[in-house]
Amino acid sequence: KSSVQSLGEEQIQNPYTELLVLKGHHDIVRFLVKIDDYRFASAGDDGIVFLWNAQTGEKLFELHGHTHKITAITAFPSSDACKEKNYLILTASADRTVIVWECNSGKQVQKVSCFHSTVKCLTVLQRLDVWLSGGSDLCVWNRKLDLLCKTSHLTDADISALVELPKNCVAAAVGKELIIFRLVVSTEGSEGWDVLELKRLVDHQDNILSLVSVNDLTLVTGSHVGELIVWDALDWTNQVCECTSWDPALHIVTQQEIKLSQNQREVSIQHLTSDEECVFAAVGKGIYVYNLQMKRLIACQRTAHDSTVLHIAKLPSRQLISCSEDGSVRIWELREKQQLPAEPVPTGFLTMWGFGRANKQASQTAKKMQESTSSYSLELIGDLIGHSSAVQMFLYFDELGLVTCSADHLIILWKDGERESRLRSLALFQKLEQNNDL
């Protein structure tokens, strides 16, 4: 019954032929964050933060400080003005603290514990050299951990996600609402900032789960019931939100959204990512690619995994990686379908999803699309099986490999075996040279 695409044991395009298991955590590992080109941090429900070397798999530091599970983590790169590279990471935990760590020494720099509730999200505004914490209220901090300003208590729900927008704005997902805040220079103090609530957008029918800023003009949100709304990121002042439906079959109507008729669990938009052209959405078990210019869905894989897709990422090489609760990581390639007139993708999906009302238009657009552009497809080119439980997240380290973290407490470093072998040879001859054995 499951139409999950499967790949044989022969995977020529899969470069990952070597793996390294990194042990350290003793509970679910939920977060991975890149510190610089070769280091990353991992955190999870055991409240411990580990710093790793992505090349060697070496454990650099083990950071203890939180007593509860970690709810948010972000890297705080040093500002450009600062000469010495001083990498910080911020971690927020269910123990209602936020700790700032210094990555080079593995020391705790400072601990903030004046929160009324758990901080659920952290974001850094690099331009302003401040960071924000979102929980039951939104707080703005500077690098020295001075509280610059905070919003009033949000009654209905906590902030679950934050994203930076142009013009010193941030969008916060609070339940079903999307609230736009703006940071303005405080009238009184020189250092001070004030935070103003600009707009509440209440177009979503259910909780907003994912939030991504595509570029300076566009913001995309996805909700639990599968609504995906594309917002104009600039027009907050007008308070006009150009919301387009992600259903290409429909005409561009403001504030149109798609409700997927199926089980909510299967349609919830878990994660969004984007490149300049497209938005990639992890919807239930599937992956969907929405083109912003064409304003339509260009490719999809309805059941990409056996279980909910938790995280997706676009690689530079037209490849897409997804990880899922089924414990696997899959590598996809977005391929152009060369003039295949047979059953255009969107129509098929529409019927499958049961968009009854759009039937007519669907066929129309299908025809239109055939004329205008070629369609795309997502081809599975490799899968990585290693984790025995849900893969929560992954980090793509370019040629260093891929790091995945999972509910089975493990982190796996996937590497290109060929490259590693070459590097080892190089190291070997270097060592020989050092010892004058050559």
């Binding site: 020529i12 899969n14 298991v21 060697t56 798999g57 072998s421 040879s425 190089l426 020989l432 010892n435």
Partner: protein
């Protein structure tokens, strides 16, 4: 083990034989009767199986000044060992041939007795009547109460096999020298203590006498001395003299040249002793500037409990008192240490000479490939005796590349010398005669010359030898093995006597004997071999030694200093001295003193600086983490190596360990599955560091492997899986059966690192990715319960990482194999019957494979571009061509070599994190299902 002659498998004496190969028994009429002596544990090659003892043993005897030669103890300490063999008689025989120039006495130029630090002598004796041959190691211990302060002892290794003694002469000599050195160190310590006590006694006596004299003087105002007073004064003078003499003796014993400390042969004693020796050295230094005082103070402080006694001016006659036992002569610690060493020696030389030689050759060969050894060799076996060198060759371990010399030299050496020794034994019945300097017999030099080391033995001085009764054959003597280690440097010394002279000295002393005493070779060590003399033997052996010289040149240069030369001069003169019975009681003039060199001890001391500094060697630096493997086991860093080897807790969980544990399990009949079988903790069990087990284990594993390849037509892909690093899972319900198979297959598993053999014999819980990272061969329980479903699920999930051998349904799921390597390794039509032989066969081919992997991994241009413009693609194609055409690998064999090369690289680079947590490499290749 690299070498694998079929015969060798039969020749090792073992505790327990493996059960016979389980083939249907032959009909009675076809069976061949067993070798009649087989039940004695003897082998058909043993010539003297009818002799009075069956196994080799070590005998320690003393030439007691009271009762003459007497046996003291045997090792093993068991009456059965010597059987009906007459130890007393044999003691008499061996003690009657003593070439040791032991001498203590008053040299004419000097007023005081001198201690000589005599080198041990080494002789090979044969008693054809008794069927006994012995390596005899003579040594002297100091005893203040003994005649001339010396007690002659000897340690003898007694065997029925003459060839064994001759072939193993070098090794025996080295080992016994160590033991002897240990004993003598203890003895010196005890002797010094004894001297100190004696000094205190004398001091006390002097005070008492002095007081008495004073009293007499006061009492006597007549102006002349009574006879009594004169007597007292004489007595006092005698005591004074005695004190000076004893002080001098003490100084001498303390100034013993401790160069041995820095030598390879020195054993790491307990720290206390080291400190002690350091103190002694310190004392020695201080005594040169300020005699006796500081050291005495030091020792006074240490032994405050001793109360001095009054001693009579004339000590008791030697015959009256009971002589000290050997144990009393030495410090107890050193005594037990020596016994341990002797036990070790006995174990080391157990078995047929053929076995020993093969073992030594393969060990020497293995030492040449330190980099690849960890893959398939038992590291324990290698490290068992890290300091042990194959005496014949003295490989300088740092040049591992120098393999050519092995082929040129090692094997021919063994063959030739075996023959030549034999011929000389039979054809030249000669007698050893005293002090014949000029008789020359050219053929004698020949057998010696074949043995490379013996080139150095061509020295002259044999003195103090006593021709003894009939039927004793003196097969070889040697003065000192300690000097052998630096013989090479000595050989290249600038000053040399003319070759003719050496020759004439060396050749001599052989005449036909009436009473059948045969002296077969004489090996006094301190000799100089001029280059031209060497060159006159254009054999491969000499070439080798040249190569060796070159290789070692830079390292040994500090040794080439004048002190060394002087020392040798001194020694040779020393050896010319005739042995004399010196005075047994102090204070009496002995008329028999012969000229001696007064400054001899100093020269020994000088020698100290000469040998000290050896620059660090390349491989040492390479692997500080894991240096048991890579460190050259060269003589210079033994103590360090040993120490870490003892300290390392991982050592026990080595390949050996897991093999042992599996060996126990693999016995299907006796093993009862119990609580222990639920080894869900995936750690290898603690080890018994005994080599017997591994020997037995190998047989068993080999046997099972043989069965496996005969029984399963798909053995090849299974073995390929193991060799290419793909985890093989043996799945079955019956634990014993699974374990047996795992045991069998374990001989094909390459080790990923030094300390862990990646084999797990029995797992009952579902597998996860970590298991494949850690284990390359797993025995897995098949369960029917829901848990079993879970497990099967995990197996299918991870199917890309594993091959599954299902014991119950006799199927194998694994990638295709079409290479040519494994068929050679596991030919189901093989004629090999015995497990151990098959094991050696496997090791043989695997070693070949290792060398290929080594070449592949360490060939620079295969992995890096020759110049900057070269593209990666051309390197890749070069690599491919190398594997295909140079190494002759086809199809999947390439992957095996690549995997092994990858392991080599990893091991060599030694990324610490990966050492403990190895990377898992895999391929995306389809699997197939094989059925019987």
């Amino acid at each position: 083990m690299i070498s694998a002659p079929d015969v060798v498998a039969f020749t090792k004496e073992e505790e327990s034989e493996e059960e016979a190969y389980n083939e249907p028994a032959l009909p009675e009429e076809y069976s061949v009767p067993l070798f009649p002596f087989a039940n004695h544990g003897a082998n058909p090659w043993s010539k003297f199986s009818g002799s009075k003892f069956t196994k080799d043993f070590i005998l320690i005897s003393e030439f007691s000044e009271q009762v003459g030669p007497q046996p003291l103890l045997t090792i093993p300490d068991d009456a059965k060992v010597s059987g009906t063999f007459d130890l007393n008689y044999f003691s008499l025989r061996i003690m009657s041939v003593d070439y040791q120039a032991s001498f203590v006495g008053h040299p004419p130029g000097c007023a005081y007795p001198k201690l000589n630090f005599v080198e041990d002598s080494k002789v090979v004796l044969g008693d054809s009547k008794e069927g006994a041959f012995a390596y005899v190691h003579h040594l002297t211990l100091y005893d203040l109460e003994a005649r001339g302060f010396v007690r002659p002892f000897c340690m003898a290794y007694i065997s029925t096999d003459e060839h064994k003694i001759m072939q193993q002469f070098q090794e025996l000599s080295t080992e016994f020298s160590k033991a002897s050195e240990c004993l003598k160190t203890g003895n010196r310590k005890a002797f010094a203590n004894e001297l100190e006590k004696k000094l205190k006694d004398l001091d006390y006596t002097r005070t008492v006498l002095h007081n008495e004299t004073e009293i007499q003087k006061k009492a006597n105002d007549k102006g002349f001395y009574t006879t009594q007073a004169i007597e007292k004064a004489n007595e006092l003078a005698s005591v004074e003299k005695s004190i000076i003499e004893h002080q001098d003796l003490l100084k001498q014993i303390r100034s013993y040249p401790y160069r041995k400390l820095k030598d390879s042969d020195f054993h790491p004693y307990e720290p206390e002793c080291v400190v002690d020796q350091a103190n002694t050295i310190f004392d020695q230094d201080s005594t040169t500037s300020n005699p006796a005082e500081p050291s005495e103070m030091h020792h006074h402080a240490r032994m405050p409990s001793y109360t001095p006694k009054l001693i009579k001016a004339k000590s008791a006659k030697c015959f009256d008192k009971k002589l000290k036992t050997l144990e009393e002569l030495c410090d107890i610690y050193f005594f037990t240490q020596t016994l341990d060493q002797l036990n070790q020696i006995e174990k080391m030389f157990r078995g047929d000479v053929c076995y020993l030689l093969t073992n030594q050759i393969s060990k020497a060969l293995l030492k040449q490939q330190t980099i690849t050894n960890f893959l398939f060799e038992d590291v324990c076996v290698l490290d068992e005796k890290p300091e042990k060198q194959y005496g014949g060759c003295q490989l300088s371990n740092q040049d591992t590349v120098n393999t050519k010399c092995l082929e040129q030299f090692l094997i021919p050496k063994v063959l030739i010398s075996m023959g030549s020794y034999k011929s000389s034994v039979e054809s030249v019945p000669i007698k050893m005669e005293q002090e014949i300097e000029d008789s020359q017999e050219p053929e004698v030099t020949e057998p010696i010359a074949f043995d490379q080391e013996n080139l150095e033995y061509l020295d002259a001085d044999i003195k103090g030898s006593i021709s003894s009764g009939e039927s004793i054959e003196v097969l070889g003597t040697e003065k000192s093995a300690a000097v052998l280690t630096n013989s090479e440097s000595q050989a290249s010394l600038p000053i040399q006597p003319s070759p003719q002279m050496i020759r004439s000295k060396a050749a001599g002393r052989r005449t036909i004997s009436e009473d059948s005493i045969e002296v077969l070779s004489l090996c006094p060590s301190e000799s100089l071999i001029p280059e031209d003399f060497k060159a006159s033997y254009p054999s491969a052996i000499n070439e080798e030694s040249y190569a060796d010289d070159e290789g070692r040149g830079p390292y040994l240069s500090p040794r080439l200093n004048p002190a060394n030369v002087k020392e040798m001069e001194g020694n040779s003169e020393e050896e010319k001295l005739l042995p004399v019975d010196s005075a047994c009681c102090i204070g009496k003039e002995n008329p028999n003193f012969v000229e001696s060199l007064p400054d001899l001890p100093q020269k020994h001391c000088d020698d100290d600086d000469g040998v000290v500094s050896i620059p660090p060697q390349p491989y040492r630096q390479v692997d500080q983490g894991f240096h048991v493997n890579f460190s050259d086991c060269s003589s210079h860093d033994v103590s360090g190596g040993l120490l870490s080897y003892e300290l390392d807790p991982h050592y026990l969980s080595s390949r050996e360990a897991s093999k042992i544990s599996l060996d126990e399990y693999s016995d299907s009949t006796s093993y009862m599955s119990s609580a222990a079988s639920t080894c869900s903790d995936r750690t290898s069990s603690p080890a018994h560091p005994l080599s017997h087990f591994s020997e037995r284990h190998r047989k068993k594993a080999g046997q099972n492997a043989l069965k496996f390849i005969r029984q399963y037509p798909f053995a090849h892909p299974a073995i390929y899986s193991l060799l290419s690093g793909r985890t093989l899972i043996v799945l079955g319900e019956d634990e014993a059966m699974v374990k047996k198979l795992v045991t069998a297959l374990s001989i094909f598993v390459p080790n990923c690192g030094l300390f862990a053999m990646p084999v797990n014999h029995w797992i009952t819980s579902p597998l996860n990715i970590m298991d494949f990272q850690k284990w390359k061969l797993i025995g897995l329980q098949r369960m029917v319960s829901p848990a079993g479903v879970n497990m099967l699920h995990s197996l299918s999930r991870y199917s890309r990482y594993i091959s599954i051998l299902d014991v119950d349904s006799k199927t194998l799921r694994c990638p295709l194999y079409k290479g040519t390597l494994v068929p050679r390794l596991a030919d189901h039509r093989t004629q090999i019957k015995r497990g151990s032989t098959y094991y050696m066969h496997v090791q043989n081919i695997l070693t070949q494979l290792c060398s290929k992997a080594f070449l592949y991994a360490f060939c620079h241009h295969l992995h890096l571009p020759i110049n900057e413009t070269e593209t990666e693609d051309s390197v890749v194609s070069r690599r491919r061509n190398f594997l295909k055409f140079h190494l002759g690998l086809v199809n999947e064999d390439v992957k095996v070599v690549q995997y092994l090369a990858e392991l080599l690289k990893l091991q060599y680079i030694q990324e610490p994190i990966r050492g403990s947590n190895p990377v898992l490499r895999f391929d995306y290749v389809p699997s197939f299902l094989y059925k019987i």
